[in-house]
């Protein structure tokens, strides 16, 4: 795909040079010299080299703020995705976080030879089926724990998801040779590997005969929903667990015990702006007796990103963004910040961990995934 093709596909040519994108871009807010529009201008005026060699090419969070506001219908996030592919083809990958461990893991995963042991965490406390209509997509949680030097809680999300599904009397499939959905690779331009992963996942899911896939990770959900169709054909109903639960709370026997807590909720970019899921998580939270949801200033489609995406260009600005967001969360007077994406949780926790070195503002506060919250509130009969 040439730059011109990208310009056409993303309708970049419509750019009115109005600068609205920059003025609502969370990166630009903290790094005034970052201008999405400048990227477009470089493309439109044929400065491919400058564009590809621009470090900030990998700063975009694909948070969709610009896409939702652009008056000229330019798909900047897609533009980023595609241009990064061009860049990576020339060996440009931006600045991978955690020295690129995760990207490398994903690439390794894509090797058909390996046999993962990604389900070792499954104890018989959780009931799963060999064959079922519903498939639970675990995602990369099993890896996060071992890579990151603090407790991410990612795996607990997987566990609690099963716990809740079980409580509803659902025993989903989980696939032992499920592989990374490829989200991060796609967004850092490694289309080749992404395709491998996508093809693999599509194949095994077809073989499993699943009719519906439930995700606890919005990235997986988004990737399956919007990106897979361009590379593989997979005909399954897709849902985020919050959507599924909001739908089925009534049925089954999800009864909650009183849990006195004041919480606030972080709309993850992908679950929110990408997939438009705003109501269900809130519905869930409010369903738990005693839980009081106090909203932050910027919510729903105006929500602020957690500051990093695709494990790349995680810099001082990313830190500032999440610090600002955490302060906004604390300002609500909530004791706990609820997220619905393992990455949000990781990034917020990271902001607190690294707080030690350069003492920024106090951003300490409990962070928990909505799945954990729901699970923790389940009555005893819930987990029978």
């Amino acid at each position: 795909m040439t730059l011109e093709d990208i310009i056409k596909e993303t309708k970049t040519y419509y750019c009115l040079e109005c600068g609205k994108c920059s003025s609502i871009c969370p990166i630009s807010r903290h790094n005034p010299s970052y201008s999405p529009r400048l990227m477009l201008e470089k493309a439109l005026n044929g400065f491919e080299g400058d564009l590809i060699n621009d470090q900030e090419l990998f700063s975009c969070l694909s948070c969709y703020n610009c896409l939702l506001r652009c008056p000229a219908d330019v798909d900047y996030p897609l533009f980023m995705q595609k241009v990064r592919a061009l860049a990576s083809a020339q060996g440009k990958y931006g600045v991978p976080a955690h020295s690129g461990t995760l990207q490398s893991l994903m690439r390794l995963m894509s090797n058909p030879a390996i046999e993962q042991r990604r389900l070792e965490w499954l104890s018989d406390e959780y009931r799963i089926s060999e064959k079922a209509d519903i498939l639970f997509f675990v995602g990369c949680a099993p890896y996060f724990e071992s890579v990151l030097d603090f407790k991410t809680g990612a795996l607990d999300i997987a566990k609690d998801s099963l716990k809740i599904l079980n409580a509803l009397g659902i025993e989903p499939m989980v696939l032992a040779d499920e592989k990374c959905c490829g989200h991060d690779l796609l967004w850092t331009g490694d289309v080749k590997t992404f395709r491998k992963l996508a093809e693999h996942n599509a194949r095994i899911i077809k073989e499993s005969g699943a009719k519906k896939i439930i995700f606890s990770c919005p990235e997986g959900y988004r990737t399956f929903k919007f990106d897979y169709p361009h590379y593989v054909d997979l005909d399954c109903e897709l849902q985020h667990i919050t959507e599924f639960l909001a739908e089925n709370m009534g049925k089954g026997k999800l009864n909650f015990k009183e849990a006195k807590k004041k919480v606030t909720y972080q709309d993850p970019c992908r679950l929110g702006r990408h997939l438009g899921v705003y109501e269900q998580p809130r519905k869930l939270i409010e369903a738990i007796p005693g839980i009081e949801l106090t909203e932050m200033e910027h919510i729903r489609d105006e929500s602020i990103c957690c500051g990093t995406s695709a494990w790349t260009n995680c810099d001082a600005y990313s830190k500032q963004i999440r610090t600002e967001r955490l302060l906004e969360a604390k300002a609500t007077g909530a004791e706990m910040l609820i997220t619905a994406c393992p990455k949000c949780q990781i990034h917020f926790k990271c902001a607190m961990v690294s707080k030690g070195e350069e003492r920024g503002p106090d951003v300490e506060m409990d962070v928990m995934d909505i799945v954990n919250l729901v699970a923790s509130a389940l009555g005893d009969n819930g987990s029978e």
Binding site: L16, E17, C18, G19, K20, C21, S22, S23, I24, C25, S28, R29, P32, S33, Y34, S35, R37, L38, R69, C70, P71, A72, D73, E302
Partner: protein, 434 residues
């Protein structure tokens, strides 16, 4: 009124008025239908006009009165077209004349009723920034000079008591039991001059209209700035009545935007500039910042006007479309976030008042009107011309013409030109041509 050789004009704004006067002066019979209680239209709401800074009412009033007094013009205000039958040469039009609850023959327009009426209601003519009575004149120079009872707010119609206006009206002109009339009119040609409505910026949440008090629309500003407006011409900002001395205008609100209207609304760059100049005139020293994408000043003396705004009226133009507006909770000042498009840097600007230069949109009832007249509309909902080139004031139906902003947004001179043009086409049709 089955007058032959007559033309029906729908809409009593400057365009409709001009068409009516021209045709009447040519000797044709004209029936001018206006849905609100007075003719005058949008221009009557404006304070001044660019680029001459003529006061809008000063130049409009004489025309309104000429139309009101002309022997060949029949005014039907507070009236709506219900149905149109027939075809070019003999249209049969039925019009609903809504009940004013005032006897036109007896009323002298003295206004005692308005004075005595105890019930205050928000005045839509002032975009609800000011108040009027339940029996009212929308504005001082209304033509015809007849009040109207707003039955939704009149205590007599709500609770069956009060009757103050009736008590004090020496002419005995108050008629609570007056009923809507249906009037049949014959016309050889019809001119649609239904004008425009204004884009409501509420959906563009990033600009905070409705959420941030000191973010207002351009038309609200016009009323605040107008001597006959709710603040008697003082530019008091909503939050605290402070006279704003540092203000910003945002262009393309509801235009050049896929999320609202993709077309350019033509006049906003200029009226924004005019309002900035007015702000300075009201309060010398006032600083204005205008955010724009392309500064569309294409008319006679427009570029000079812009230059003057820069040189003499402390107006700064920034080529940028702000992303969002936040609120400074302490000062109630809006904070505008924008990209300095010359450097690509993202900046913020705190001002005391933000004016959203809202787009002109087709009249909200245009679909209905189009089906009554069976004329086609373009993709935006404006009246469509046959070929977009050589029949600028025609519609897709022979014998029905259109002029002014109902075709597409345009300024006053262009509307007036089209109004006379439509009159000429009508005269052509009435002379047997098509």
């Amino acid at each position: 009124m089955a007058v032959n050789n007559s033309v029906l004009i729908i809409g009593g704004g400057i365009a409709g008025i001009q068409s009516a006067i021209d045709l009447a002066n040519m000797g044709f019979q004209v029936c001018l239908v206006e849905k609100s209680p007075s003719i005058g239209g949008r221009m009557a709401q404006l304070d001044k006009t660019f680029p001459t800074n003529d006061c809008a009412m000063c130049i409009l009033a004489p025309k309104m009165i000429e139309a009101g007094r002309h022997a060949n013009i029949k005014l039907l205000t507070y009236s709506e077209v219900l149905a149109v039958d027939g075809e070019v040469g003999n249209f049969k039009v039925s019009i609903k004349k809504k009940a004013r609850s005032v006897d036109e023959k007896k009323c002298t327009g003295c206004g005692v009723c308005v004075e005595k009426c105890p019930w205050k209601v928000n005045n839509e003519f002032d975009l609800n920034l000011g108040q009027r009575k339940a029996i009212y004149f929308a504005f001082p120079q209304t033509v015809p000079k007849l009040p109207v009872i707003d039955r939704e707010h009149c205590a007599y119609f709500l609770k069956g008591k009060c009757r103050a206006c009736e008590k004090f009206c020496e002419a005995g002109a108050i008629k609570y039991d007056q009923e809507d009339e249906i009037i049949e009119v014959e016309a050889k040609a019809i001119i649609v001059a239904a004008g425009f409505d204004l884009y409501d910026p509420t959906p563009l949440r990033e600009y905070g209209y409705g959420r941030i008090q000191n973010v207002i629309t351009a038309m609200e500003y016009e009323r605040l700035s107008s001597a006959s407006g709710p603040t008697a011409g003082e530019l008091k900002r909503p939050s605290d009545g402070k006279i704003a001395s540092d203000i910003a205008f945002i262009q393309c609100v509801g235009s050049r935007d896929v999320r609202s209207n993709r077309y350019c609304s033509s006049v906003c760059c200029m009226y924004g500039t005019k309002e900035a100049i007015l702000a300075y005139e009201h309060q010398p020293g006032t600083k204005s910042t205008i955010f724009y994408i392309d500064l569309r000043a294409v008319g006679k003396r427009f570029q000079e006007y812009i230059q003057r705004a820069k040189d003499e009226y402390n107006v700064t133009y920034i080529r940028s479309r702000p992303g969002n507006i936040e609120l400074n909770h302490h000062t109630q000042n809006p904070i505008i976030w924008y990209e300095d498009t010359t450097t690509g840097e993202t900046k913020s600007l705190e001002v005391e008042l933000v004016i959203l230069c809202q787009a002109l949109i087709p009249p909200r009832d245009i679909q209905e009107m189009a089906s009554i007249l069976s004329i086609e509309l373009d993709e935006y909902g404006f009246v469509k011309t046959p070929d977009g080139l050589s029949h600028p004031v025609d519609t897709t139906r022979v014998g029905i013409l259109a002029c002014g902003c109902v075709h597409s947004p345009k300024d006053i001179p262009d509307s007036v030109v089209q109004a006379s043009a439509a009159a000429a086409r009508a005269a052509e049709i009435l002379s047997g041509g098509t």
